[in-house]
Amino acid sequence: MRPENYQAKNHPPSHEFELNFGPNHPGIEGNYAFKVKLNGDTVLSARADGGYLHRGFEKLMEGRLWIQNIALVPRICVPDPVPMEVCYSLAIEELGGLEVPERAQWIRVMQLEMSRLAAHLFAFGGHAATTGMYTTMFWGVADRDLILDRFEELTGGRVYSIYNIPGGVRREVPDGFLERMSSLLDYLESRLPDYDNLFFRNQVFIKRARDVGAMTQEQALKWGVTGPNLRATGLAFDVRRDDPYLVYDQLDFEIPTEPGGDALSRNLVRRSELKQSIRILRQVIERLPSIRGPIRCPIPNPLAWNVPAGESYTRVESSKGELAYYVVSTGGDKPYRVHVRGPSSMHAVQVLENLAVGSRLEDVAQIMFSLDACPPEVDR
């Protein structure tokens, strides 16, 4: 220790102080930080500090072949990797004019919904943990793991499936997979009442989360909020329905909304979306066996694939909100520019900074988890 270095600074007495919050803090989702200015325990202003997970994806992708990037993109959002792969593949397919076989499209929808289920289970599990309800987290993570088992079976990887490539998917669905998937859905559906009892209808949680981090629909639109967070303010908007991709226009599902705009509503929307995802998956399981055909359209040799010049902006609905890729090709074997528009980049910075103002310090973590912001996606 170096006592000579410690010098007490004379500050005027004040209730206002600044607090570094994160990156090494259990109330932070991932590796992310805030600097908050407090009066007592009320937040006067907050400032997000990212970059702890910055890897420079957009730069890396400019230096790799089109196909090599499929291994890179899922890493952008760790809890919900599949939409990243699909969105990137969609962008290349649009540029290259590739026709994705119908079967591959259905398989992609299946993965997307599996990923959404897993991400939502993880998200409200995390939220529960910030309010001290660890059992919900334990359950959520354990049930998510069952979905990961199915991912492993389908794609060969638990978390990073690297299963979608431009043109389709990489492997045929294994035998008996759909039956196992179906029984998993039965199980998950039977678990929903348990979750309700434990968490969503738990008065502790309701009292704790109501009116925390509330925003109105106008505010949400103004701040660029998307996804479940926007639906929690009452606006029924979903990229899957309103800007359909893959075969979502052939599927029957609802867009749950909640009026409250607070942490509670956001969790309830996720809870309702679990049910809708299960519903979509059941439709896929029913339809998939009757859709025959290839799972990938022929693509050129990946080592010598010049994607035609042009640009494309593709959007998908990830579990966090609107995810978009802007891809520019100059006709070379590598992308000229890939821009990843992650939903969390809005939620975890501006929205969070705005919502934190006036809330209490202990609620900041709750707000962050309720927005389901994903720091690696902010940092890229």
């Binding site: 790799r64 072949l65 196909i67 090599q68 990037n69 499929i70 291994a71 890179l72 059992t135 354990a142 088992d149 492993e152 079976e153 794609t155 060969g156 990887g157 990073y160 690297i162 990489r170 492997r171 045929e172 294994p174 348990d194 309700d196 009892n197 434990l198 969503f200 209808r201 738990n202 008065q203 502790v204 309701i206 609802e254 749950p256 909304t257 909640e258 509670l264 309830l268 809870r271 309702s272 049910k275 290839p294 799972i295 990938r296 022929p298 693509i299 050129p300 040799n301 990946p302 080592l303 010598a304 694939w305 010049n306």
Partner: protein, 607 residues
């Protein structure tokens, strides 16, 4: 619609319902790692028997995790396209994406279901693994992510090459093959994985990966530049090369090899002759060395040597006995395979650089070797194999028993001869196909029907001619018989040739691998013919040397003895091409380069 009316007050005891879970079976897994899923992407294994060391996995690896390691003791053969290298994987980089598996041309590499590897800091070398069939820890684990037809990223099918239909081509000498369109060429070029096996297997080590890459980039001129680095006979090789490269091609392990020959042809055809001449002239020195070199024979070997030497500033004169350049490529290959204007274009490139060709000058008759020895700093003999070998079977001295090379030369020169109504070719090589198909065309022109038979010694599994040649010959009406050994040419009492008797072949080589065919005497066939053509090999006419020089030179089994540079025992005399190595265009080109390099070195020393 909200599923949960959260404004309803749930029972405060609701969470207590979870107490029921005490009675349930725990979900916790045992400590021992579970077996992974069937297609799990765990650590690598590599089947060393299948792996050819092509390093395609290294190129596709996005994390630069794969290092190629040379392993002494493994087979290495450039002709077969096998290297003694194997990929080693750095698990400090690998991300288990499985792209290496999907792109592997041979299907040797795969991932297993093994996924636990723990080490301490001082054991970190264990992260660098040379996958073999046993896996990282030598324990057996099932294969996980493996090559499947769905996941295969290698395009196994060649672009179809357009050809003239048999009905349209069987009575004329127009070129059969259309050549790639630029679209097809780019697609075909994109199949290449740039492994470089073709470069190693090519006798003249053409920069095939580079020019294929250039074609794929749409830059035909750059492709021509790469081609001219090692082959000035590219119009010829783009059409009639024996393409060892395609035998070695790693894509050909499981599918069709990349059509390297047709790609070369495409590049040469896509660039104008003037531009090719400019590209070929790049790198020519701008001084005159003052050395004089004589080359005998304007075939591929001689002209390639001339091309190299003239670019070095030497004064090169080529002496050609016939009235046109090209040697066997002109007089041995029928026009439907190699149009003469393309050959002329190749030769023009060389002459435009300043090479003089003296036609109709037969050395030994018009000019003596002693004159060349006196007047020139170096002399190259590249006269090729211009005489056909004879079977020496009974009756083979009949005048209607011809040699294939002579007959082909006659057809090229347009000299008249009587086209036989029925003919039999002895031999199963490409020359046999050439003469059979040429005669078939003439028969069709003159008699309206084809009556050609080819009797080959080899069976179809070991056939010498290219399969396409055989197919096309059949399409044109030529009958091809395998495993037939010639017994006797039959002559009737009037001295007229009436046919050929053949015997079934039992074996071609004896136990020591020497050529000693054994026949089944009971299996005799007679093929009716008014002409029998022998096409069983060629030899050199070395009369040009004269007695005195022939005496001075060293010989090896009837061929000139040359050192590794192609120099004979006489310091001023080099020899190149078919007469040294046997008939093959691309070998001749390679030999031309070698001799040129030898002469260049010699001239430098002499100075």
């Amino acid at each position: 619609m909200p599923d949960i009316p959260y404004k309803d007050k749930g029972s405060i005891l609701g969470p207590l319902k979870t107490l029921g879970f005490f009675a349930r079976r725990p979900v916790t897994e045992p400590f021992e790692p579970r077996p992974a899923a069937d297609s799990y992407r765990g650590f690598h294994v590599n089947d060393w028997e299948k792996c050819i060391g092509c390093s395609t996995c290294q190129k596709v690896c996005d994390n630069a995790a794969i290092t190629m390691v040379k392993i002494p003791g493994l087979p290495e053969d450039p002709v077969l396209g096998v290297r003694n290298e194997r990929p080693a994987i750095d698990y400090g980089r690998c991300c288990w994406c499985g792209l290496c598996v999907d792109i592997c041309p041979t299907g040797s590499i795969s991932l297993t279901t093994e996924y636990v590897h723990v080490c301490r800091e001082n054991e970190l070398d264990s992260y660098f693994v040379l996958p073999d069939p046993n896996g990282i820890h030598g324990k057996h684990f099932d294969k996980g992510w493996d090559k499947t037809a769905d996941a295969d990223l290698v395009d196994l099918h060649q672009q179809p090459m357009g050809e003239v239909e048999p009905q349209q081509r069987d009575d004329n000498f127009d070129e059969i093959v259309h050549g790639f369109t630029s679209q097809q060429a780019i697609i075909e070029a994109s199949r290449c994985v740039q492994c470089g096996m073709c470069h190693e297997s090519c006798p003249t080590h053409m920069n095939a990966p580079e020019y294929i890459r250039a074609i794929w980039e749409g830059n035909a001129e750059e492709a021509v530049r790469q081609i001219y680095r090692s082959n000035p006979f590219s119009h010829v090789c783009g059409r009639v090369c024996t393409r060892r490269c395609e035998t070695a091609c790693s894509i050909g392990r499981r599918g069709d090899p990349v059509a390297i020959r047709w790609l070369k042809r495409y590049a040469m055809d896509a660039v104008s002759d003037e531009r090719i001449r400019e590209i070929a002239a790049e790198g020519k020195v701008d001084y005159i060395s003052g050395k004089k070199i004589a080359i005998i024979g304007a075939g591929p070997a001689g002209l390639t040597a001339a091309y190299d030497l003239v670019k070095k500033g030497h004064d090169v004169t080529v002496f050609e006995a016939l009235d046109k350049p090209g040697g066997m490529t002109r007089y041995g290959i029928p026009e439907y395979r190699l149009p003469y204007d393309r050959l002329d274009a190749d030769v023009e490139v060389i002459t435009s650089l300043g090479v003089t060709i003296q036609y109709n000058t037969r050395i030994g008759r018009d000019i003596g070797m002693d004159v060349l020895e006196r007047d020139y700093d170096a002399v190259v003999v590249a006269i090729g194999l211009q005489q056909g070998r004879s079977t020496r079977i009974p009756g083979s001295d009949h005048k209607q028993v011809r040699k294939a090379v002579k007959l082909l030369r006659k057809i090229t020169q347009g000299k008249p001869f009587k086209v036989p109504r029925t003919a039999v070719v002895i031999g199963g090589g490409n020359v046999a196909m050439d003469i059979a198909r040429s005669l078939a065309r003439l028969q069709k022109q003159q008699y309206g029907e084809v009556r050609m038979t080819v009797a080959a010694l080899e069976d179809f599994d070991h056939f010498l001619a290219d399969p396409e040649e055989v197919t096309e010959a059949r399409e044109e009406g030529v009958v091809i018989l395998d495993s037939r050994g010639p017994k006797q040419c039959l002559v009737d009492e009037n001295g007229k040739l009436i046919g050929l008797a053949t015997l079934g072949v039992v074996s071609i080589f004896d136990q020591d691998g020497r050529f000693a065919p054994r026949y089944d005497d009971s299996d005799e066939q007679v093929h009716q013919a008014d002409m029998v053509i022998e096409s069983i090999g060629q030899m050199t006419d070395v009369s040009l040397f004269g007695d005195e020089l022939t005496e001075r030179l060293e010989w090896n089994r009837g061929r000139l003895r040359v050192d590794e540079n192609g120099r004979t025992s006489e310091p001023w005399l080099w020899s190149a091409g078919d007469m040294v190595f046997g008939p093959d265009v691309v070998h001749a080109v390679a030999d031309g380069h070698r001799v040129a390099a030898g002469i260049e070195e010699y001239l430098g020393v002499k100075q």
